[in-house]
């Protein structure tokens, strides 16, 4: 039997291009432009899948991206929507959720026990006795779910792009095209999107043979396609609405993130099914789905059709089917024919029988539809004494619509039920959200054109800043297009409300009886609307059932919450690439050329160590050894570097840092500790004084921008006369550390490095290799050392000259790992590693940096005054016995006492200087107050014993870094 029709006026298929594909191993042919479902239906393959729970045969329903029972498995992808996804040559398809074939599914036997599987069965049954749960879980999991993920998947990358417009119009049907055009004519920059590959919307399938719209269709399509102010995206879904009109547009090639100034929703309506026994048989379809099949794919899904309707759309569908050569055995109108007007007359004129005030009591068929029982409506069911049986293989359901308003709900809009239209319509719209067309209850062509023009005018006025609100109801239809109760009771059930989840009318009624009588509860208990179509053809009927059972109106019953995304979005469209800027020091190329292995430090890349990764630990140890015995050099350009200038500079630093900076002598530096209002340590660095009103401040690598921000906050909000310059990027910094540093540096600089001229913690300005530099004599790693701050373009030359000058003494560049070990040996903490979001100075032994008495104020002072006497933790040094394995204890390992956690390791490393593993632990105060040893639980569960030791581990008197220690206490 041939299911393919003669060419249709607006068909999407290319008849000169044949596509061959297989389904369940059988070969099929279709045309390019066919969807999977239409290609199969054209070959008479009416069963497209099996239902989720009972494995009942299912066919096509909507052809509108909502067919949750026609999901296919390709080699690469599960759950491909057959109703809209285009066929590709050589596709190998099977149905999802089938055990066997769609014609013979072994799991279909589950239906025989269906009456023992009422709604909520799983929740109530399988958790007792507890020990059997794993068995049940395994069985349920193997039966649940739909397609199978191919774990040998190829990574697909899709690019993202950004777009901007004045106005986004969603939906390129009659209303969308008309409103986009009117707005574009008013000089707005318009983006028009439609999920279908071709524009036209329902004009092309519901009014395909209507001569009165022919000229209108052509002129609108031509105009929106060529208008210079309209960008048209087809095959593109607006899948969500986010604040300030930020909408992800899902295209076949990736996601466009669109920022619009306003949005017109012309998304139309989604057809709803009638509920009668066996309304899920293949052959029972939405009338609009049949019309889509006919006009888009030139496929007729049956030979003898019965139409069930309660609106004029059903009569139009009857005429379209008649036109396509399908015998229309009868039109069953649930209401009176009197209100159907000219469309009914045209149907009658074709000799088609119309039964008014009738319903379909039951559809009958073994695997697909064969017959239907029709009888006059009576109460909640039918009067069977007057039943008639019609032979048919197609039922067109045309009993109502719901607006595609998901994005309006997401934007905060509200809809209310209109008793005239028996449909939800927009009632309240947030700023910049506009609606028109059938979504807004305008159904006739004239109403839709007028509504579209009016909404365009409203949007234009809004974007011009004029306050104009229109009467949303002005162009709404005055007759209903939806039936208030398209539901027919049947004692044997199988009258499905939700095809996705196999929910029958009685399932919802039972759930309500069990007390789940609120729409959100009903949804969660029964799972209505939770399947792949997300309730697009089940929510409305569920609301009707609940409303009637509770004796409430539809508005009082309400609807469930709509959240993004409107349709499933492939992960490839969402997955991002690394889009994080990486900062590199001016010496990066030199490091690369010298085998540096890089690590991330905040936004920067820093050398972790130099050498082969196979010898990582040895390289690090050698670098440490070089600094301790001779000379090391490290790139510290990533340090935050801020100039602080002005009459209030000292005052600013006094406010921002705990220690007093106003007493700092010119040419000297001081350790600087920053805490927040709660007294928690947030940054440290050094402050150096260049003049009475000029300071130079360094901050940690990852906190540089935040420190600048905090300083600028005080400048602004305390009204200080200070100028700040963040020179983090413009200056480089090099630290030269080791006993030989003075000897190597002295010949290259104009600054005298003598102890008397340049003591420990001093800061001097001068020339180095001819470049203006600042030298700071810092402890840093606990050796005699100089930090060189210099223009970034001087960094490479100076570094290279220092390397040459240091060659004789064995200079060695060192990386971040060696620096950490060196600083750990000195007991210096790393902010953010040895401290966390609650650590205050008293917990890390830095009471010397908190001058509570000598300073009237600094940020966090009142909190620290309180915390001084109530420490809850203490940072303590420990070491393992000599010869203990070097990598056994790791950071974050727990300290255990009597099976209780009493602390954790914050830093740990093997110290070549101490010849043992050393580290820091943050201990609970009560345990810190004891002198008990420290037992650390390592990865394999063993407890490793460590001994406490005082800090610093290395050179506790600081003799190596200074011969004249300046007292930093204030």
């Amino acid at each position: 039997m041939n299911y393919r029709l003669e060419p249709q006026p607006y068909e999407w298929i290319s008849r000169d291009k044949t596509i061959r594909f297989t389904f369940e191993g059988r070969e099929f042919q279709a045309f390019e432009g066919d969807s999977i479902s239409s290609g199969l239906l054209a070959n008479g393959q009416l069963i497209l899948g099996r239902s989720f729970k009972y494995h009942r045969p299912r066919g096509a329903l909507t052809l509108a991206n909502h067919d949750a029972n026609a999901l296919f498995q390709t080699e690469a992808e599960p759950n491909v929507r057959g109703d809209v996804v285009a066929l590709e040559p050589s596709m190998k398809l099977t149905a999802c959720n089938v055990n066997g074939t769609v014609a013979k599914d072994k799991d279909a036997k589950i239906e025989y026990v269906a009456r023992f599987l009422p709604v909520g069965f799983y929740y109530k049954t399988f958790h007792k006795p507890k020990k059997f749960f794993p068995f049940w879980e395994k069985m349920i999991r193997s039966k649940a779910g739909l397609g199978h993920v191919n774990t040998q998947w190829d990574a697909q990358r899709q690019s993202k792009s950004y777009a901007f417009c004045d106005l986004l119009v969603i939906g390129a049907g009659l209303s969308g095209m008309q409103s986009a055009l009117a707005a574009a004519d008013a000089q707005l920059n318009v983006v028009l999107v439609d999920e279908n590959p071709f524009i036209g919307g329902s004009l092309d399938y519901q009014l395909a043979h209507e001569p009165r719209v022919k000229a209108l269709r052509e002129s609108l399509k031509e105009s929106v396609s060529t208008h210079p102010n309209i960008r048209l995206y087809t095959s593109t879904l607006a899948v969500g609405w986010y604040t300030d009109h930020y909408l992800p547009l899902l295209t076949p090639h990736g996601m466009i993130k669109l920022r619009s100034r306003a949005v017109i929703h012309a998304t139309g309506v989604m057809e709803q099914p009638a509920v009668f026994r066996n309304n899920d048989l293949p052959g029972v379809m939405m009338a609009s789905g049949i019309q889509r099949l006919i006009s888009r794919y030139a496929v007729k899904p049956g030979q003898n059709a019965l139409v069930l309707t309660s609106n004029v759309e059903g009569y139009r569908a009857a005429l379209d089917m008649f036109e396509a050569g399908i015998a229309v055995v009868a039109v069953v109108d649930m209401e009176s024919i009197a209100q159907r007007g000219e469309w009914a007359e045209r149907v009658l004129a074709k000799g088609i029988r119309v039964l008014e005030k009738h319903g379909i009591y039951e559809a009958i068929g073994r695997q697909t539809l064969q017959r239907a029982i029709v009888a006059p409506l009576s109460g909640e069911s039918c009067d069977l004494s007057k039943k008639e049986i019609f032979d048919c293989d197609l039922i067109a359901m045309s009993v109502g619509w719901v607006p595609a308003a998901q994005l309006i709900y997401q934007a905060g809009g509200k809809l209310s039920y209109d008793d005239t239209l028996q449909q939800f319509v927009p009632e309240f719209l947030p700023k910049g959200i506009f609606v028109c067309g059938r979504l807004n209850g305008a159904f006739t062509v004239d109403q839709r054109i007028a509504d579209a023009k009016a909404v365009a005018q409203e949007a234009v006025a809004f974007l011009k800043g004029q306050k104009e609100s229109r009467d949303l109801t002005q162009y709404r239809d005055t007759t209903a297009h939806s039936h208030p109760w398209p539901i027919i009771e049947h004692p044997k059930g199988k009258n499905f409300i939700d095809f996705d989840e196999d929910l029958q009318l009685k399932d919802l009624k039972n759930a309500i009886l069990e007390g789940f009588d609120n729409i959100e509860l009903l949804k969660r208990f029964s799972t209505v609307g939770m399947g792949p179509s997300q309730g697009k053809h089940s929510n409305m009927n569920a609301i009707r059932v609940l409303a009637r059972s509770q004796g409430l109106g539809i508005n009082a019953t309400g609807s469930t919450t709509a959240r993004p995304f409107f349709h499933p979005v492939p992960i490839s469209a969402l997955a991002g690439r690394r889009f994080r800027p990486e900062r590199r020091s001016p010496l990066h190329a030199w490091h690369e050329a010298h085998q540096a292995k890089f690590m991330e430090a905040g936004v920067w890349l820093r050398p972790e160590y130099y050498g082969a990764s196979s010898a990582r630990l040895d390289c690090i140890q050698e670098e440490v050894e070089a600094v301790r015995s001779r000379l090391g050099i490290i790139d510290v350009s990533t340090l935050g570097k801020i100039e602080v200038m002005g009459p209030d500079a000292a005052r600013l630093l006094d406010l921002a840092y705990t220690m007093k900076m106003s007493t700092l002598k010119q040419g000297m530096t001081r350790y600087a500790l920053m805490v927040d209002d709660s007294g928690v340590i947030i940054d440290d660095g050094i402050v150096g004084r260049l003049a009475s009103d000029q300071f130079y401040v360094t901050a940690t690598t990852s906190h540089a921008d935040a420190t600048y921000k905090i300083l600028s906050k005080y400048v602004q909000f305390c009204g200080l006369n200070v100028r700040l310059v963040n020179r983090t990027g413009s200056l480089a910094a090099i630290n030269l550390a080791g006993s030989e540093s003075r000897k190597v540096l002295a010949p290259l600089t104009s600054i005298s490095l003598s102890e008397s001229n340049f003591p420990y913690l001093g800061m001097r300005e001068g020339l180095l290799c001819g470049y203006p530099v600042r030298l700071i004599r810092v402890g840093f790693v606990g050796e005699l050392g100089y930090e060189i701050h210099l223009p970034h373009n001087a960094a490479l030359e100076v570094w290279q000259r220092l390397m040459v000058a240091g060659q004789a003494v064995g200079i060695k560049p060192f990386g971040v790992e060696a620096q950490r070990i060196l600083r750990l040996e000195k007991g210096h903490i790393i902010i953010g590693q040895d401290t966390d979001g609650l650590t205050h100075p008293y917990e890390v032994g830095m009471s010397w940096a908190v001058p509570l008495n000598s300073k009237a104020w600094f940020t966090g002072k009142p909190s620290l005054a309180r915390l001084k006497s109530s420490c809850q933790r203490q940072l303590v040094g420990f070491k393992l016995a000599q010869g203990a394995p070097k990598n056994l204890v790791k950071e974050c390992h727990l300290v255990i006492d009597n099976n209780e956690m009493v602390g954790r390791v914050t830093s740990v490393a093997y110290s070549p200087t101490q010849q043992c593993v050393i580290g820091l632990v943050m201990l609970d105060q009560p345990y810190a107050d004891t002198s008990n040893p420290i037992h650390i639980r390592v990865d394999d569960g063993r407890l490793i014993r460590g001994e406490r030791c005082s800090l610093p581990f290395y050179d506790p008197e600081g003799i190596r870094q200074t011969s004249a220690v300046e007292e930093v206490l204030v």
């Binding site: 921008d705 305390c718 309180r866």
Partner: protein, 88 residues
């Protein structure tokens, strides 16, 4: 809010800003309870709030009045109006 409609520099993506919360003055000589309130508690009730926003690309601070329900920026406040003094 994805865009901050700053009365001074116009509409900018929110990602360019750091939110620094309601304008509050540290209660310098307060008792412990008042100080704890200041440190740990914030007003959550919907209102028109005077807030500090830091614009990272330019390193500038803005004080605006924002309706925390509708996210509309209702006014720009000159920083001099909210400046405070701290003990020296």
């Amino acid at each position: 809010m994805k865009l901050l409609d700053c009365p001074v520099i116009g509409k900018r993506p929110i990602s360019e800003f750091d939110y620094m919360g309601e304008i509050r003055i540290p209660p310098v000589d307060a008792d412990e309870k008042t100080w704890s309130e200041y440190v740990f508690n914030r007003k959550g009730a919907p209102c028109s709030l005077r807030e500090a926003w830091y614009h990272r690309p330019t390193g500038r601070w803005y004080v605006v009045v924002r309706n925390t329900v509708t996210d509309e920026i209702e006014a720009h406040v000159d920083i001099s109006e909210v400046q405070y003094e701290l003990p020296a």
